[in-house]
C-alpha cells in the first residue's frame, strides 16, 4: 500500500512537472487520418498532420500565391517544359539524412513508381529528373504543366527521407520520416498522433511548441466541449451551427477561411442507363433545377449563413471565378418556363442520392422542398458514403449530391470532372470544346491566358450544367483565446510556424 502511494505521488509529480515545462499543443480533428505516408495518403485530416510533419518543396500564401519552402527559388525554361529548382541548404530529414537534389529525385521516383502511390497522376507530366548539383534539381516535363507547382505545394511535394522510405517500404506510414518542424513520436489509431519538435529544423526559431498532439474527435459537439473544458487548444471544422455559441464564448476565438472546394449536384448525363431521364438528357431541366434553388436561403437554413454560396467550381472570391455568371437569384417562374420549353409542362421527377449524414441530408431536403415549387419532384436516396461513391462511379445513379475538397490550382477543381477522359467525370459529360479549353489552360503558365480559357469553360459549363454547384464550405477553426499567430488558409491546413500560446 505504501509502495502504491509513493508510486502514485511520483506519477502525479511527474505529470505536473512535465506540464509546467513542455509546451504541448492539442488539436482536435474531425476524423482519424489514414496512413501517414504522403505518397499513400488520401484524407484531408492526414494533410493537416503533414503540415507539421512534412515540409513541401513549395508552400502557398493565404492568397494562394506559391512561395518557397524546401525549394528556395525556381525558374521555367522558355517553353515551360523544364523546371529548375534551387533547394534550401542545411536541411536534414528527421533521421539525420541530408535533404538534397538526390533526395528530391528519389521522392519523385517514389511518387511515380511506388506500387501503392496515390500521387501518380499528380506528377505524371514529369518525364525526367536531373541532379545538377547538390542543391539544384531540374525536372523535364512531357508538356508544359501549369499545375505542377501547386502539386508541389501539397502531398506530391512533401519530401520523405529516401533512406527511411527504402527501408520501411509499404509500412513507411507507421513511422514516417520527413523534414518538417515536428517529428513523428507515436500514434494510437483513433486516439492520438503525437509529434515532437525536431531540433535540427531549418526554421526552428519559428516553432514554439515542444509537442503537438492531434486528437480525432468526430462528434462536433464533443469536440467543442473538449475545447471549452480546456482539453484541446484548437479544433478544425467547427459546425456552422455552433458558430454563434463559440463566438459568444469569451474563452474561445474563431477563425474562418473560404475553402477551395465546393458542394454540388453531379448529374449523370451519359454514364449508362442512369442518364436516360429528363434531367440527364436535357440541359434545360438541369438549369431549371439550378434556378429553383435559393442558395442564400439554403446557406441560412443549414449553415446559419456561415458558408459561401456558389455556382461555379471556384468560389466567388477566387481570382478564377467568372463574374459574367454571378450566383443566380431563385426564379421559380423562369424554372417552370424552362421545363415547359423542354417539353415537361407538368414537371419532372428525379432521384438524387445523398450521403446519409445529417448535414448533407438537410441540404437536400431544403433543395427538395424548393425544387418541388418549380415542378421538379425530387426523390432522395440516402446512402452510406462508400455505397454512394461506388454507385456514382459505376453510373448507377441519376444525380448525386457530392463535393470536392478543392485544389490550389484551378485545374484541380474542373479538369478531371469536365473533360471526356477525366478520371472523376462521373457525369460522363463530353464536349470537344470543353476538352480543348481545359487542356489549353493546363499548358500555359501565363495567368491571363489561363483565366481566359477558364472563363470560356465556365460559360460552357453554365450552358450544359453537368454539375449544379451549390455552395463553398468555409473552414472554421475554434481556438483557445491564448493562442497567438494562427493564420487561416483556404486549403484548411493548420500551419504552426509562428503560432504560440501566450497566457
Amino acid at each position: 500500500m505504501h509502495m502504491l502511494k509513493t508510486l502514485g505521488l511520483a506519477a502525479l509529480l511527474a505529470t505536473t512537472s512535465s506540464l509546467a515545462q513542455a509546451q504541448d499543443l492539442k488539436i482536435g480533428l474531425q476524423e482519424d487520418p489514414d496512413v501517414l505516408d504522403p505518397d499513400q495518403s488520401r484524407t484531408f485530416v492526414g494533410r493537416i498532420v503533414y503540415a507539421s510533419l512534412c515540409d513541401k518543396l513549395v508552400d502557398i500564401t493565404p492568397e494562394l500565391e506559391i512561395i518557397p519552402m524546401l525549394a528556395r527559388e525556381w525558374e521555367w525554361n522558355a517553353d515551360g517544359t523544364e523546371l529548375t529548382m534551387k533547394l534550401q541548404e542545411g536541411v536534414t530529414f528527421h533521421d539525420g539524412e541530408p535533404f538534397n537534389a538526390e533526395a528530391v529525385a528519389a521522392n519523385i521516383d517514389r511518387s511515380q513508381n511506388f506500387e501503392l502511390s496515390r500521387r501518380k497522376s499528380e506528377v505524371q507530366s514529369i518525364t525526367g529528373t536531373e541532379v545538377i548539383d547538390e542543391h539544384t534539381i531540374k525536372f523535364t516535363l512531357s508538356a508544359p504543366d501549369a499545375t505542377l507547382l501547386a502539386q508541389f505545394a501539397d502531398r506530391a511535394g512533401m519530401m520523405v527521407s529516401p533512406k527511411a522510405a527504402g527501408e520501411a517500404g509499404e509500412s513507411f506510414g507507421l513511422n514516417p520520416v520527413c523534414a518538417g518542424p515536428f517529428k513523428f513520436k507515436e500514434r494510437i489509431q483513433q486516439d492520438r498522433i503525437v509529434l515532437e519538435k525536431f531540433d535540427d529544423y531549418y526554421r526552428a526559431d519559428e516553432i514554439n511548441f515542444d509537442t503537438v498532439t492531434f486528437l480525432p474527435i468526430p462528434d462536433t459537439t464533443v469536440r467543442l466541449a473538449n475545447l471549452r473544458a480546456g482539453d484541446l487548444d484548437m479544433l478544425e471544422r467547427l459546425a456552422a451551427t455552433d458558430l454563434s455559441s463559440a463566438e459568444a464564448d469569451d474563452g474561445i476565438k474563431v477563425e474562418k477561411a473560404t475553402s477551395l472546394g465546393y458542394q454540388g449536384i453531379t448529374i449523370n448525363v451519359a454514364n449508362g442507363a442512369g442518364a436516360e431521364n429528363p434531367l440527364g438528357q436535357n440541359a434545360a431541366v438541369r438549369k431549371a433545377l439550378s434556378l429553383a434553388i435559393d442558395r442564400n436561403a439554403l446557406n441560412q437554413v443549414v449553415f446559419e449563413g456561415a458558408f459561401a454560396t456558389g455556382n461555379q467550381p471556384f468560389s466567388p472570391t477566387s481570382p478564377w471565378y467568372n463574374p459574367d455568371f454571378t450566383v443566380p437569384e431563385r426564379d421559380v417562374e423562369a424554372a417552370k418556363a424552362l421545363l415547359a420549353e423542354a417539353g415537361f409542362p407538368d414537371g419532372v421527377t428525379v432521384e438524387i442520392q445523398v450521403a446519409n449524414n445529417p448535414v448533407q441530408t438537410q441540404v437536400m431536403q431544403v433543395i427538395q422542398s424548393m425544387a418541388s415549387e418549380a415542378g421538379i419532384k425530387i426523390e432522395l436516396a440516402a446512402k452510406e458514403f462508400a455505397t454512394l461513391l461506388a454507385d456514382q462511379s459505376a453510373g448507377d445513379y441519376t444525380a448525386s449530391q457530392v463535393g470536392w475538397s478543392g485544389r490550389v490550382d484551378p485545374d484541380g477543381n474542373i479538369h478531371q470532372f469536365m473533360t471526356t477522359e477525366g478520371g472523376i467525370n462521373d457525369s460522363k459529360y463530353s464536349d470537344p470544346e470543353m476538352d480543348r479549353l481545359l487542356d489549353e489552360a493546363r499548358l500555359s503558365t501565363d495567368p491571363a491566358v489561363r483565366k481566359e480559357s477558364y472563363s470560356a469553360a465556365i460559360a460552357k459549363q453554365q450552358e450544359d450544367m453537368p454539375i449544379v454547384y451549390l455552395y463553398h464550405p468555409v473552414w472554421i477553426w475554434a481556438l483557445d483565446k491564448d493562442i497567438k499567430g494562427f493564420e487561416p488558409y483556404p486549403d484548411g491546413m493548420i500551419r504552426l510556424h509562428g503560432v504560440s500560446i501566450e497566457e
Binding site: L36, R42, I188, Q190, A229
Partner: protein, 314 residues
Amino acid sequence: MLTFLGRRILTAIPTIILISIFVFSLQHLLPGDPILVMAGEERDPEVIAALREKYRFNDPVPMQYLAWAGNALQGDLGISLRTQQPVLELIGEKLPVTIQLAVMALIIAILIGIPAGVLSAYKKGTWIDWVANITALSGLSVPNFWLGIMLILLVSVKLGWLPASGYVPLTEDPLQSIRVMIMPAFVLGTAIAATLMRHTRSAMLSVLKSDYVRTARAKGLQERVVLVKHALRNALVPVVTVITLLFGELLAGAVLTEQIFTIPGFGKLVVDAVFNRDYAVVQGIVLCTGIAFIFMNILADAAYRILNPRMSQQ
C-alpha cells in the same frame, strides 16, 4: 471440470470457423467498393487497378477466404487497408481499452443492479420497489448517446469535474485512466444495471417463496443472512446467465459509447473499419468478439457448477 472445459473448447472450434466464413461472405455482399474508398478523392484508374491487384480483390471470394484463413491459422490476420497497421497489433491495442470499459461498466451495473433487485424484491409493493422499478425503466429507455452527451455537457463543460473524452491507458496513469473512463462506464453500465435489477428481482421473488427460505427463517436466522447467504446465492444462478448474455450487449453498447466519448476501443475500431470497408479489420474484430463470446459462455457454464454443485453430477 477439466474434461468439461476441454470438451466445450473443442466443440467451439467449428462455431468459430462458421463465424469467420459468415463474416467474410457478408462483407463482400455489402454495397460499396473498398478500393474506391482507398483510392482517394482523385480515384486515379491506374491507382485503382494497382490496389485491386495488390490486395487480391481480383481473386474469387472463396480463394480470398482461403488465403485469409491460411494466414489467420499462422496468426496473421492481415493489415488494415486504411493505416497499414497489422490487424492483430490493432486488436491487441484496442482490446484492453474495451475490456476496461466493459469491466468497469459491469462493476457499476452489478453494484447498482443486484442490490436494487434484492431490495425491491424484499420490499415488494412498497415505494422502494416502485422507485427502483421506475429508475430501472428509465435506465433502459434513455438512449446511451443522449445520456452521454448530457453528461459531457454537465460534468465536463459546466462543472469541469471529468475530462469530456479520450483515453489514458491504465498502465500509464491508473487514476486518470479511471477518471476518463468513469463517465462512459456509467452510461454503459446504467442500461445494463436496469436489466440486471429486473432479473435479480424476479429471481429473488421466486426464491423467497421457496420452502428452504421459510425453514431458514423458522430456524431463527437473521434476515440478512437469509437474504444474502440463502436466497441470493440461489437467485444468482439465472442472474449469471443474464450477465453472460449481457456481455454481448455490453460490447454492442460499447460501440456507441466509444463513439460518443471518443474512446479508441474495439467498438470505434469496428465502426470506422466498416465505413472505410477495411475488410481485414472487420473480419479480425468479429472473429475475436466471437471467440470472446464463446469463452464467456464456457465461463458461465463453469460458474453454474461452482454456484450449484449439483449440476456437475448430472
